[in-house]
């Protein structure tokens, strides 16, 4: 079933000259991008590149130091309710109400999002079964493993069928089956006209799932495009996204140096 979110030519998420300063640290240094309906937009970068900050600004959890962002045509700071109604957000480290059970947590989310009883039941049952949550449905969230918490957060983010999914490292701690389900759900969401912003530092995941990739490094966009476009931008022959990434971020030399140093250290230890 295809849902009409916005005209296909209107971006669902748009960011312009996005900057974020945390004290003396510049987390984002002028980021521009647009995510159209039907796109899975990958934010790719090393730890501390600014992926999570970008997603938090889009979700209205952080205010940008300068620049602006529009979600479904709304500014997240000026119209937080409109924006939060349109997004499904999964945080990098899912922070939920630890003393509630998955069932109670989903009841809370469904109530706040004003989801009809039948609809909520239907989605909860399907997703809980798909993610193998039935054994832990009535256990306190605080006692669950990281993967299980991630599943609860994922189900809660999909509950209201949002047009925009903001997924910050959503595969953290997931088993292979659940990981695959998430990837398929994300693809299905995009096919139905939704937009997904998917942050990861795992190259294979970005290569497999994203229709367009934005490589961020030290808060700046290094390159943007499809896998083939990025391949052509990178100098030399590269077969994998990892090689492209290292080439575009000029990290290849550093990796070689570091591996050499570590190798020497380990050899010395073993010899000692």
């Amino acid at each position: 079933m295809r849902r009409a979110f916005l005209p296909m030519s209107t971006p669902l998420v748009e960011a312009y000259a996005l900057m974020k300063q945390f004290g003396s640290i510049q987390a984002l240094a002028g980021l521009d991008f647009r995510v159209m309906p039907g796109e899975i937009y990958g934010l790719l970068g090393p730890n501390g590149a600014g992926k999570t900050t970008t997603i938090k600004i889009i979700a209205g959890l952080l205010d940008a130091t300068s620049g602006w962002v529009k979600v479904g045509g709304f500014d997240p700071m000026m119209h937080p309710i409109e924006v939060k109604s349109r997004i499904g957000y999964v945080a990098e480290n899912p922070i939920l109400y630890e003393s509630l059970s998955a069932r109670e947590f989903l009841e809370f989310v469904a109530s706040i999002r004003k989801i009809e009883q039948d609809e909520a039941n239907h989605i909860a049952t399907q997703l809980a079964n798909a993610f193998d949550m039935t054994q832990y449905f009535d256990s306190p969230i605080g006692a669950l493993s990281l993967g299980m918490k991630q599943k609860v957060a994922l189900v809660a983010s999909l509950f209201h069928r949002p047009p925009i999914l903001l997924l910050d490292e959503p595969l953290n701690g997931l088993d292979a089956k659940s990981s695959r389900i998430v990837k398929d759900l994300v693809s299905l969401h995009a096919q139905n006209g939704g937009a997904v912003i998917f942050s990861t530092h795992v190259m294979e995941v970005a290569e497999y799932i994203c229709t367009r990739i934005c490589i961020i490094h030290q808060g700046k966009m290094i390159a943007e495009g499809t896998f083939d476009e990025l391949k052509s931008k990178a100098e030399g022959e590269h077969e994998t996204l990892e090689e492209i990434f290292l080439s575009l971020t000029n990290e290849r030399g550093k990796v070689v140096d570091m591996t050499g140093l570590l190798g020497e250290a380990f050899c010395r230890n073993e010899a000692g």
């Binding site: 945390f22 959890l61 630890e98 509630l100 989903l106 999002r113 054994q135 009535d138 006692a143 957060a153």
Partner: protein
């Protein structure tokens, strides 16, 4: 491993315990998305928040320790002017009772994270022997109450030494103080462990709910008991003096067997042998029994800490659920349900479920000896009941904990969150007017109009709740002292919101000697307060 080294290594796990406890309990740190000004910036930096949590933990422990020292010494100050002969057993008993309560209350807050094995996870990966591992975990546990215990023990021993100048009394006081701390820690650990065990197994059966409620009542009784003893020792002192120093009464015999009174009497008898031999012997035997009990409790604490550190203490319930249906409510009711569930499952915030009972007891105690119910009695009872309720909004806000990070991602106005907490606060206050109404059915009133006083105060309670929460959301204290002052400010504003309508009633009555005019004035004041509260809500 040397003890000094184990003590040094126990610091990181201890930090983890207090961090987790505070991170879960203290909503203040996570209000960024709803608050204003610097609070937003604060919530943005995880590092800053973490540091703040640890600073607050240190400050909290220090404040409670200072409080514990004061509380341990305060009952002895009454002896400086009076006769130690009669007062010493009561001073010792009161000092032990207050420090026992304070230590237990503080430990309940801190141990909530200790019952899970996560606190020792970082140690588990290191090449440590089982014995060293257990020792480090135990010391990290001891660190949670070290200042408090040392403060209380020193305060009590020094006070007894100064008053009696008896080495034997000092040694006995040291033993009894230590026993008091061990018992307090054991009870706190037992309470928290049972509470979490209950929840980890679902906690939904009737028996589990009753058990949880019984613990909540115990918590409430402890809190109000400590508050009562600490705030009005001059009232408690003569009452206990009458009961303890009259060994012919059956109730006195009961006190001779009960900790901490047995210890108080036993130590005092050694120094001033004025009490009868049989009574002194009974108290001494009871004290020995309590010391033995503390030894057993200490051993249990050691074993429990060891089991917890090895992750074999509490297992998560795991059962296949066939029914995956969920219930949805309107957003406000959904939030109220969430608030009730979250706060009922934390030993630190569950106390307000005991408030209705505590309020009913307070109101009943204030009224029970009166032949007729006058305006002044109703005003005092209403005010006392209302004061208890004022803790509810702050407890609910703190109970949000880190979960609030998630709520910030939901399409929800802060107004709805405030409304949810205000509704719960009003519900917590409702036993007061109902108890007064019940009293009015059996006792004559000086004027029928006065029965409306507690009902008008419902509006004042609602306004007080809104004021407190608005202040909470708007505040972002830079330092710990400032945070403490701000917490007091919130409570003072709440107290004023309750007090002003009552003062208006009293003032108008004194001027006009007309209850109808007085209640109308009270009504105008409460409605005005509510209008201001609603305006603040709308503006926010």
């Amino acid at each position: 491993m040397k003890l000094a080294e184990a003590w040094r290594l126990s610091r990181p796990p201890y930090k983890e315990i207090v961090y987790k406890s505070l991170a879960e309990e203290r909503g203040r740190m996570w209000w960024g998305g709803f608050g204003r000004g610097p609070c937003i910036e604060e919530a943005q930096s995880e590092l800053r928040v973490t540091k703040k949590v640890l600073r607050i933990a240190k400050f909290d422990k220090l404040i409670v320790a200072v409080f514990n020292v004061v509380a341990s010494v305060l009952p002895f100050t009454m002896l400086v002017t009076g006769s130690p002969l009669h007062g010493l057993p009561i001073s010792i008993s009161l000092s032990l009772a207050i420090t026992f309560g304070l230590t237990t209350l503080y430990a309940i807050q801190t141990f909530s994270s200790f019952v899970g094995p996560e606190s020792s996870t970082l140690l588990a990966t290191l090449p440590l022997s089982k014995a060293d591992f257990s020792l480090i975990t135990l010391l990290s546990f001891v660190r949670s109450v070290d200042y408090l215990a040392i403060g209380a023990i020193l305060g009590q021993v020094v006070a007894v030494a100064y008053l009696t100048v008896s080495p034997l009394a000092m040694v006995l006081m040291l033993t009894v103080s230590l026993m008091n701390v061990v018992l307090a820690v054991a009870i706190a650990l037992w309470f928290v462990r049972i509470f979490y065990k209950n929840l980890s197994h679902g906690g939904k059966s009737g028996g589990a709910r009753i058990l949880r409620f019984a613990f909540i009542l115990m918590w409430g009784a402890l809190l109000f008991g400590v508050g009562f003893l600490f705030s009005v020792p001059w009232l408690v002192f003569p009452l206990l003096e009458r009961m303890l120093l009259n060994p012919n009464q059956i109730s006195s015999l009961f006190f001779y067997l009960l900790h901490p009174f047995s210890s108080g009497i036993a130590i005092a008898t050694l120094v001033y042998p004025a009490t009868g031999f049989s009574s002194a012997l009974m108290a001494s035997l009871a004290m020995v029994g309590h010391i033995t009990l503390a030894g057993v409790a200490g051993k249990w604490v050691l074993a429990t800490v060891k089991r917890t550190s090895q992750g074999s203490e509490i297992e998560v319930a795991r059962k296949s659920t066939i029914d995956l249906s969920i219930k949805t409510y309107n957003p406000l009711r959904g939030y109220v349900m969430k608030d009730l569930r979250v706060s009922s499952r934390s030993p630190g915030t569950a106390f307000f479920f005991a408030l209705p009972i505590v309020e009913t007891i307070i109101v009943s105690l204030l009224m029970v000896n009166l032949e007729t119910l006058g305006a002044s009695a109703v005003l005092v009872a209403t005010f006392m009941g209302g004061i208890c309720t004022l803790l509810t909004p702050l407890a609910l806000l703190n109970g949000e904990g880190r979960g609030l990070e998630y709520t910030k991602t939901l399409p929800l106005h802060a107004t709805r969150i405030i409304a949810s907490k205000t509704l719960i606060t009003i519900a917590a206050y409702m036993p007061v007017p109902l108890a007064l109404l019940s009293m009015a059915l059996v006792k004559p009133l000086t004027s029928p109009v006065i029965i409306f006083i507690p009902y008008f105060i419902i509006l004042a309670v609602a306004s007080a709740s809104v004021f407190e929460i608005k202040l909470f959301l708007g505040s972002a204290a830079k330092g710990e002292i400032a945070a403490l002052v701000q917490d007091l400010e919130k409570l003072i504003v709440g107290v004023l919101a309750l007090l002003i309508p009552e003062v208006a009633y009293a003032a108008m009555y004194l001027m006009s000697v007309d209850h109808i005019l007085a209640i109308l004035t009270m009504g105008i004041v409460t409605f005005s307060e509510l209008a201001v509260a609603l305006h603040l809500l709308k503006r926010g």
